[in-house]
Amino acid sequence: MLSSITIQDLFFFVLSSVIIFGAIMVVSSKNLIHSAINLILCLFSTAGLFILLNAEFVAIAQVMVYIGGVVVFMLFTIFLTTRLGEEHLEPLFKNKFFNGTILVMAACWVASFIPSVIDPERDQTFAQNASLTEVGARFLDLRESGFIVPFEVISVLILVAMIGAIAIAKNDNDPKNKDEVSN
């Protein structure tokens, strides 16, 4: 039994336990900063899982977008809104029966996927490693297999969000911004 475990399996079990541990810590920690740090751990291990699946580009994108972007943004938000050591966070829903029902339903939904995953007749070989050139060509492919429409829609969406953020932040009419230090 022991000799049949490859190093990939070993890494898979280590990474999945880290992800589960991190995820539990994210939701159970009362300090928001600790939650954010555990989220980093969780996302980083997920990137590790992507590397095990030979999806290097997805792993790098995971680190770049989620860790380098989303969590940094979360940290800034927490720094600007909460005080150190503040642990008076109240749960949104206090009804234990309601929360328990939701949890059990979610668990059942996840468990319904288990039979299809452990099906022994399922193709269990690792995906081939796609080079970055192939990934990029697929994104800009005009044919049916390409992803040009979602790619462009996301680009426009991000542009709109950026212009909107600048418009909100600018706020020229506010008299408080008039006495700014000029260059």
Partner: protein, 380 residues
């Protein structure tokens, strides 16, 4: 054709160079004669990794202490002083003495600081720098791992170092630290964009994302280095890269996060002993990495300085690739030090204006122009 001897210094000969000359010698002494197959399997898979980690740890420590000595010497010479002279020849052992002092100092934690984050934060920037060292091609056959998405990896992982600064500044529970951390965070996030765009420009031109392949795309004479191959705009791109990486390193003249006259020491005000030295170590390794990335992307990496005359080129090829790599890297590092001790520090709003109103549009414009040059075939 296949039997034909490859020319000694041709591109194919360099690409097919023996990949593990040092590792094979060391690995020979650790033969895999284990009773248990599983342990043998794990050992053979992990011996490369362990060896690389060992070498990179020693390299990072040595480089950081050498750079601290170099910084003090360069600073002293620019101010008509001598710098460290007492410990060892030319004061070379000064950083080691300082390191020993720092290790034995007491680690102080301010009252009310969050202990977990306070002690975790110093190790994050050092981890990020370590991870980037793994993909840097020191020579044609000296590189820990050559991943396909190397350029993106460098951008992604170097963004990881920002957490140490943000968390360290916040967990110190001091206003100076928090102000320094917020400034550092804002500055690094902003200038990361410019560094990333500068690297993506070269990725676009060479069509490669592996750092080793990017170096080989500059094979030929000195005109084939990306700084000269893209006429005029290559030099502009290099200057933009130098400015933005100086700012991303939080080095002078952009050292606002630790502006001594305003914030005492910025985000590491409350750190002492080994925790402080971890921040310091990361800062100096990051400077080496910025130099190495600049060398790899713009200055031809480990390729020698050749001008197309055969006799001259052959002499240049006799100098090993790692010597060229380190010479170019230390040239860029010297430029960083030169900046630090020559320019006054801008204000924080001037710094942000420089990035968002000048550097970012300039970089985008540069990418558009380079794309036009590439399609028109105007590369040298």
């Amino acid at each position: 054709m296949a039997k034909e001897e490859l020319a000694k210094n041709s591109l194919e000969a360099l690409k097919n160079a023996d990949q593990h000359p040092v590792g094979d010698v060391i690995r020979k002494y650790f033969s895999e004669n284990f009773e248990n197959e599983f342990i043998a399997h794990v050992f053979s898979s992990s011996s490369n990794i362990l060896l690389s980690i060992l070498v990179m740890t020693a390299f990072a420590g040595g480089t950081a202490s050498f750079l601290i000595w170099l910084e003090r010497k360069v600073c002293a010479r620019m101010q008509v002083r001598l710098g460290p002279t007492r410990v060892g020849p030319f004061g070379l052992l000064q950083s080691i003495a300082d390191g020993i002092k720092l290790v034995f100092k007491e680690m102080l934690r301010p009252k009310g600081a969050d202990p977990f984050i306070f002690y975790l934060a110093p190790f994050l920037p050092a981890t990020a720098s370590f991870l980037v060292l793994a993909v840097i091609p020191f020579d044609k056959n000296i590189q820990v791992v050559d991943i396909d998405v190397g350029a993106l990896y460098v951008i992604a992982v170097s963004g990881f170092g920002i957490f140490g600064i943000l968390l360290g500044g916040w967990a110190s529970n001091s206003k100076y630290s928090l102000l320094g951390a917020m400034r550092a965070g804002a500055q690094m996030i902003s200038y990361e964009i410019s560094v990333g765009l500068g690297l993506l420009l070269i990725v676009m031109l060479s069509g490669e994302t592996s750092l080793r392949e990017i170096v080989f795309s500059q094979y030929g004479t000195v005109n084939n280095w990306w700084i000269f191959k893209l006429p005029i705009f290559g030099i502009i791109a290099f200057i933009l890269f130098l400015i933005s990486s100086t700012a991303e390193l939080n080095r002078g003249p952009f050292d606002l996060p630790e502006a001594e006259s305003e914030l005492s020491a910025g985000f590491h005000t409350e750190y002492s002993g080994i925790t402080f030295s971890m921040f310091f170590l990361a800062e100096f390794i990051n400077m080496f990495i910025a130099g190495a990335i600049g060398t790899t992307f713009f200055l031809g990496g480990f390729l020698p300085f050749t001008i197309g005359i055969e006799g001259f080129d052959n002499i240049m090829f006799m100098i090993p690739g790692w010597a060229w790599f380190f010479a170019k890297t230390y040239f860029i590092i010297f430029l960083f030090m030169w900046f630090r001790w020559s320019f006054p520090r801008p204000r924080i709003d001037q710094l942000m204006n420089l990035e968002w109103k000048f550097m970012l549009p300039a970089n985008l414009l540069n990418i558009i122009i380079a794309g036009a040059f590439l399609t028109l075939g105007w590369l040298l």
